[in-house]
């Protein structure tokens, strides 16, 4: 086996990916016009991004729809040729799609399945066993472990199309991980799943990362996914990296404030208190104000000393809220 531990598992330098799309004017006239002459436009899906990821890291990739997350993952997994820039994954150039590279990666797309629709999932696993040339005992061992982790024993022999979305996602994950990839790309794995299943999947990804020491990049719309799983996040918008660092750093940097919530039953006091911070929510007698992080303790004790408030709590700012602000600010 190759040894990568000293180097970055994934490194991306000045990656650019442009798509060519053609623009059509609306209406019948536009339809005929587009038949004769087409206006093509180049759209930069990924615009000069660079980052690197070490072995065993679990990184969250976040950004609104169309930010370039999936395009980046597709470039990293070798599905797309980069327009320019350099990519190295496990010391391979992904687009060459070398055997050694392909046997060590996996890409789970939440909205696309690889399972054979009309057959039980176990058939796909067996096919993947042959494709990745896994020997019998290793296959049995891995399958057993994955099935245990996902609690999927009873669904392996059921025709895939009869499975629920959650069950199918479990099987998708088994199919994607049966060869124990060193690098795993998860593109919105929790999409469409209920809260319980989301939680289970998060647990699974966490333990897979830990048990097999694999490098994982995860994209998700659900902040909870990222919050629970990734220490490091890369925020991307309009094809550019807006932030790359620890989630806690992001909070500190982008949201140096906390939320103080309490009940104040005295109407006069209620009005006075409001002046201490920015009002986030007010529904008499409940009030939530926003104050800067470093002043939070001082203001909280000030409130407790001077007013007759109940149920006072100090909370970190909501991650989703922060991210939204980051996106708003990075708009062109």
């Amino acid at each position: 086996m190759l040894e990568f531990s000293k180097m970055d598992t994934i490194s991306v330098k000045n990656l650019v990916k442009t798509y060519q799309v053609f623009k059509k004017e609306p209406g019948i006239l536009g339809t005929f016009k587009s038949l004769v002459s087409r206006k093509y436009e180049k759209v930069k899906a990924v615009d000069d991004i660079s980052f690197s990821i070490k072995e065993g890291e679990l990184v969250g990739f976040i950004g609104p729809n169309g930010a370039g997350k999936t395009t980046t993952l597709k470039c990293l997994s070798g599905l797309l040729y980069p327009t320019s820039g350099e990519i190295s994954v496990l010391n391979f150039k992904p687009w060459q799609r070398k055997r050694q590279f392909l046997t060590n990666i996996s890409f789970v797309m939440g909205q696309k399945n690889q399972l054979w629709w009309d057959l039980p999932a176990i058939e796909t696993f067996l096919l993947n066993k042959e494709i990745f040339e896994i020997n019998d005992s290793q296959f049995k061992k891995t399958l057993g472990e994955l099935v245990d982790l996902l609690d999927a024993k009873d669904i392996l022999n059921i025709q895939v199309k009869r499975l629920s979305l959650g069950q199918r996602m479990k099987c998708e994950l088994i199919a994607a991980l049966i060869h124990l990839p060193k690098v795993l790309f998860l593109d919105e794995p929790t999409i469409g799943l209920d809260v319980v299943m989301q939680e289970k999947l998060r647990e699974f990804v966490k333990s897979y990362n830990k048990n097999f020491h694999s490098t994982i990049i995860l994209t998700s719309h659900y902040m909870e996914d990222v919050q629970n799983l990734a220490k490091r996040v890369i925020v991307i918008n309009f094809g550019k990296i807006v932030f790359d660092g620890l989630l806690t750093e992001l909070v500190k940097k982008k949201a140096p404030y906390k939320l103080i919530s309490f009940m104040e039953r005295n109407k006069d006091n209620f009005v006075k208190i409001k002046k201490l911070g920015k009002i986030i929510e007010q529904d008499f007698p409940k009030l939530t104000i926003r104050v800067s992080s470093k002043d939070s303790n001082r203001i909280a004790s000030q409130i407790l000393d001077n007013f007759t408030v109940e149920d006072l709590t100090i909370e970190e700012a909501d991650i989703a809220e922060i991210i939204r602000e980051v996106f708003e600010k990075s708009k062109k």
Partner: protein
């Protein structure tokens, strides 16, 4: 290699995933053969020679082309364009698997099932109807016929693959496929035996690849070609196969650069 047999096997079992669907497939195949059989049985004058073919030969030709058509042309690889356009091609690209071989062995699995059942059905029909068709008994001709059918199958596979790669540049490939099948039907001899054409036109046809999809394997089966011509024909088929394989490979490489993995 084992992986590709697994693909053939899993395709084989996939064809029987829906029992009703499977039964209807077989009923369709049998009905089609029976319809053609009874129609031509009624039309063809007994005893008389038409187009230089006697009654049983022309009947064999017509039934034979329909049968070979169902082996050679019926193909899973029609889904290539769909896979490109729906983006499910991505599932193959991220695996250490050859996409050509994947589809080839999928075809093998599918055809194995088709041939297995057709053999049973044909035997049954033969004993029930006792049709006046020509049964080749010379093992040399039988073997050569099998080889030429296999060659035709390979040739068709690559032609079909090239048509599939149109999916890289256009989301709609129904039109080229339709045109192709009309043309192929004519040039391959599914409408009439090609040797009834004027000699000089037929000579041109012999250089085209399509002749070798239907007409040629059947002529070999009927034992109507001299051995020398048969060998040359089989070689021609393989040369055309190599040419189309090369083009398919080129189209595939070019296409991958255009591939955008749309469709989420």
């Amino acid at each position: 290699m084992k992986k590709y047999w697994q693909i053939a096997k899993i395709t084989f079992s996939e064809t029987t995933a829906y029992r009703l669907n499977f039964v209807m497939w077989r009923v369709r195949v049998v009905l089609q053969l029976l319809t053609i059989y009874f129609l031509w049985q009624a039309i063809l004058p007994r005893g008389a020679k038409i187009l230089n073919y006697d009654h049983s030969q022309i009947l064999t030709y017509i039934l034979g082309t329909s049968l070979i058509w169902s082996f050679v042309m019926a193909s899973r690889s029609q889904s290539i364009a769909d896979e490109i356009n729906s983006g499910s091609l991505s599932n193959f690209l991220i695996k250490p698997i050859n996409y050509f071989s994947y589809h080839f062995f999928r075809d093998i699995g599918d055809k194995a099932m088709n041939i297995l059942f057709t053999a049973v059905e044909l035997t049954l029909m033969y004993f029930i109807l006792k049709p006046p068709i020509f049964i080749q008994t010379d093992p040399t001709y039988l073997a050569l016929a099998l080889i030429s059918i296999f060659a035709a199958l390979c040739l068709h596979f690559f032609i079909n693959f090239i048509l599939g790669t149109i999916g890289f540049i256009s989301p709609e490939i129904w039109a080229p496929r339709f045109i192709f099948f009309i043309v192929i039907g004519f040039f391959a001899g599914s409408y009439f035996p090609l040797d009834i054409l004027p000699a000089n036109i037929f000579a041109i046809f012999k250089f085209l690849p399509f002749t070798y999809l239907l007409y040629f394997p059947l002529k070999v089966y009927l034992g109507q070609l001299p051995l020398e011509e048969t060998i040359v024909g089989i070689f021609t088929t393989f040369i055309w196969t190599a040419v189309f394989a090369l083009i398919a490979n080129l189209a595939w490489r070019k296409g991958l650069k255009l591939y955008t993995s749309w469709g989420k």
